[in-house]
């Protein structure tokens, strides 16, 4: 289609002055469940086949992945050409757009139930070799894909001779992954809480996708997620995905290697390369979880493995403590499952819960801990949430964006549930220590409920790519601090001028993203004193403007000006107030929050005002005391009368001396 036709069909959107996206030309064949696809072109080279994915508004795109993969040229990866925030007329807001090289052979599978079988002879050249290269590139870049599934694989060419992995950055990791292509542990987590994971997760997803493509069917089919997890737990992933298929031995090898449920045993890039180069590896045998000699009855159902029991407990949270008391679970673990370590750990967890002050709270954490002990590989499960250790951040972000209840997530962090998960690990993992420290820091933010802290702070701290979802900025997709003031400036036209531009989300966003010292302003902004809070708001915005060198914020300055009443009123001198009221609108027209801050919060002016006020106060007080004395008659009225009497006596004596002197003179002469 010619550019002109597309331009005629709708408004063109420009990304970084270089790429044109055509909202009027959707490409459903390249879209993802959470990201629409549109035709895109490069300005200088219109012939280059490109398309744009528009990230679902508000969703945190994986910016770390975008940074790592931009420009990476791998035969098995859909080339990421550019990414950034654009004005998006169809949604009347800004959105994140990802520009990809356009695969021209179409999608490998239209849906997870509509799978076309791929010939074994073609698999090595068309699929395994490019994807292995892609996985190696991802590992080299230090990121994971977490979106490898048949429906997110595309044929790079019209000849369909090479497969490329589709986008992996427009949604949280593994958010759209069906359980069938996810490792059991990840599948047990909520879609938004699967976390970045690690390279073995990508190999597993690739193995599962390969198994599906080789068979031309999805063994998970229409099964619900619980059933898929149960089958994988019972049969092992290979057994569930390819156990019934008749496959040549090399394919069995690669599938057993990549679908190994033990992550430490699962094939990695090196094993894959050896296999591609023709070296035959011993197929890994699936390790099925140990079954107990007798069942544990929970909620009238029998369970033979610890994992199944943990899943059941996580689904019947409130009933757990009542049904495992009296050492029943410990005995079952010790005798029927013959797992002394787990039995001891359960006894310890139940024992420590008994002595807690808040028994209900302790009970809930104990249930979480027991689930962790029973199934060490499972995600963190607490009440209704189920999250991988590194997935709580994205879970919180998605829940918040979708307007869900974040109370349980906050509660899990407050009650150190992730810490309990880290404590129940079989072996030391340095990544866990980092995550543990990070969650401890988040707990600190949650404990301080003031503006700039709380759950809002946590969501921006944990999610580097989380856009600020304040009502003031949500339409501008503010991911970086430098985008914040222009967004607030743009919103100023719509603002009623009554509320502060720094609401809880904006404050938390600033606190999480600022690389400079803002501690004092953040503390002051939370004060109940409106004067100090207003000045802190102005100073904080001015500091950001000054540090980022952003001028001309006319709208925001005018917005802020309307809120400066308490700050002006903080000056005692009325003349100074009038002077400020004259000056402020003039400075606001210049768009300089820095100058406004200097004018209103000048230490010299404030000190002079205080000195003047103190002197005036003393002067007033002295006058007051004198007036009180006059009014209460405490003035010494005797003193003037005494003086008058002295004067009278003096007059009398003077007259006496004069008279005597005159008489004496007259007698003598």
């Amino acid at each position: 289609m010619a550019n002109e036709d597309k331009k005629a069909s709708g408004v063109a959107v420009v990304l970084r002055e270089r790429f044109i996206i055509f909202p009027g030309s959707p490409l459903p064949e390249l879209a993802l469940p959470s990201a629409q696809a549109f035709h895109a072109e490069e300005r200088r080279d219109g012939g280059k086949g490109l398309f744009a994915l528009i990230v679902r508004p508000g969703f945190p795109a994986r910016t770390n992945v975008l940074r790592a993969l931009k420009g990476v040229d791998s035969p098995g990866l859909m080339g990421l050409v550019e990414w950034g925030v654009v004005d998006w007329p169809p949604a009347s807001r800004k959105v994140m757009a990802l520009i990809y090289a356009r695969p021209t052979g179409g999608r490998v599978a239209g849906s997870m139930t509509d799978i076309k079988r791929i010939e074994e002879a073609d698999v090595m050249r068309k699929i395994i070799t490019p994807v292995a290269a892609a996985l190696k590139s991802l590992k080299t870049a230090g990121v994971t894909h977490r979106a490898i599934r048949p429906t997110n694989m595309f044929w790079a060419t019209p000849e369909r001779d090479r497969l490329v992995l589709g986008d992996c950055a427009s949604v949280p990791p593994a958010y759209e992954q069906p359980s069938v292509v996810e490792p059991v542990e990840s599948a047990m987590a909520m879609p938004a809480a699967r976390g970045n994971g690690a390279s073995p997760d990508d190999y597993y997803a690739f193995g599962a996708s390969l198994a599906i493509l080789l068979q031309g069917r999805n063994p998970g089919g229409a099964l619900p997620d619980e059933a898929v997890i149960r089958q994988k737990t019972a049969q092992g992933s290979y057994g569930m995905l390819a156990g019934e298929a008749r496959l040549p031995l090399p394919m069995v090898e690669i599938l057993r290697g990549t679908l190994c449920d033990d992550e430490s045993q699962r094939w990695d890039a090196e094993a894959m390369e050896l296999w591609i180069s023709g070296r035959r590896l011993t197929p890994l045998v699936a390790k099925i979880e140990k079954r107990a000699a007798r069942a544990f009855v929970f909620s009238n159902r029998e369970y033979f493995t610890a994992r199944e029991l943990a899943i059941a407990m996580a689904q019947s949270w409130d009933a757990v403590l009542q049904q495992i008391g009296d050492g029943k679970l410990e005995l079952w673990l010790r005798r029927a499952l013959e797992n002394k370590e787990k039995a001891d750990a359960v006894a310890l967890a139940l024992g420590s819960a008994g002595g807690a002050v808040d028994r209900r709270q302790a009970g809930e954490v104990t249930v979480a801990r027991i689930c962790m002990i029973l199934d060490a590989g499972a995600p963190i499960r607490y009440k209704g949430i189920s999250s991988m250790a590194d997935g709580l951040g994205t879970l919180l972000a998605v829940t918040m964006v979708e307007g869900g209840d974040v109370k349980t997530i906050a509660e899990a962090l407050m009650r150190d549930v992730p810490k309990a998960w880290f404590e129940t690990r079989d072996s030391y993992n340095p990544d866990n220590s980092i995550l543990d420290g990070m969650y401890r820091t988040q707990k600190g933010y949650l404990e301080r409920a003031t503006i700039g802290n709380g759950i809002e702070r946590v969501v921006y701290e944990i999610n580097e790519s989380m856009p600020c979802i304040s009502p003031f900025t949500v339409e501008d997709y503010v991911v970086e601090l430098r985008d914040l003031l222009p967004a607030l400036n743009a919103f100023a036209k719509k603002a009623d001028g009554k509320g502060s531009p720094i609401d809880r989300h904006v404050a938390a966003f600033i606190a999480a993203r600022a690389s400079f010292e803002i501690e004092r302003q953040m503390l002051d902004i939370a004060l109940p004193d409106p004067t100090r809070a207003t000045l802190a708001m102005l100073n904080l915005l001015a500091l950001i403007q000054w540090r980022l060198g952003q001028g001309g914020l006319y709208g925001l300055s005018t917005w802020v000006t309307g809120l400066l009443g308490p700050a002006i009123a903080s000056y005692h001198n009325r003349e100074r107030r009038k002077e400020l009221e004259r000056e402020i609108p003039r400075i606001a027209k210049e768009g300089s929050l820095v100058d406004l801050s200097r004018l209103l919060d000048s230490p010299e002016e404030r000190a002079a005002d205080m000195r003047g006020f103190e002197a005036a106060r003393m002067e007033w007080h002295q006058a007051y005391q004198q007036l009180q004395d006059i009014e209460s008659g405490r003035v010494d009225v005797e003193a003037p009368i005494r003086t008058a009497q002295q004067v009278a006596a003096l007059i009398s004596l003077t007259l006496c001396f004069i008279t005597v002197a005159l008489l004496v003179i007259s007698k003598i002469f």
């Binding site: 009325r574 006020f613 007033w620 007036l627 003037p640 009368i641 004067v647 007698k667």
Partner: protein, 150 residues
């Protein structure tokens, strides 16, 4: 109080010592300055200026006859004659004492009236000064100065 008493005693002793040498003068002065003595005895004010005020003019009125005594015949008979024969002397001495008394009575009310006027003016000035301070610095200075009236 004790000091005033000791002064009075000193004066009395001096007068007693002078009696043998100037009995005629003392006689004339005792009779001629009766108003002063009365003023000294009746003055209950703290300052005790009344006798000075009355005494000054009383003595001025008597001075002419005292000089006449001193420069003439300074003896008891002349003094008695002067007291009994010259009515003008007592009239002048007592009249002058009366003027002194009037002076003592009249000056303080005048001063008090002036004082009252000054106080009113001062109160008005203080109130005006306070008003100006409140206009420039706001009502806070009232509250900051006198918390109980806020």
């Amino acid at each position: 109080m004790r000091r005033a008493g000791s002064n009075r005693l000193l004066i009395m002793l001096t007068l007693v010592a002078l009696i043998p040498f100037s009995l005629p003068t003392l006689l004339v002065m005792f009779v001629g300055m009766m108003p002063t003595l009365g003023a000294a005895l009746s003055d209950r004010s703290g300052s005790r200026y009344c006798w000075l005020c009355v005494g000054g003019l009383n003595f001025a009125g008597l001075a002419n006859w005292l000089l006449f005594l001193w420069f003439g015949h300074h003896d008891i008979s002349s003094a008695i004659q002067m007291l009994l024969g010259d009515h003008l002397m007592l009239m002048v001495a007592y009249g002058a004492a009366g003027i002194g008394w009037l002076l003592y009575m009249a000056v303080p009310p005048v001063v008090a009236a002036i004082q009252t006027g000054t106080t009113h003016r001062r109160a008005a000035n203080l109130a005006s000064q306070q008003k100006k301070l409140v206009e420039l610095w706001g009502d806070e200075i009232r509250r900051a100065s006198v918390p109980e009236i806020s």
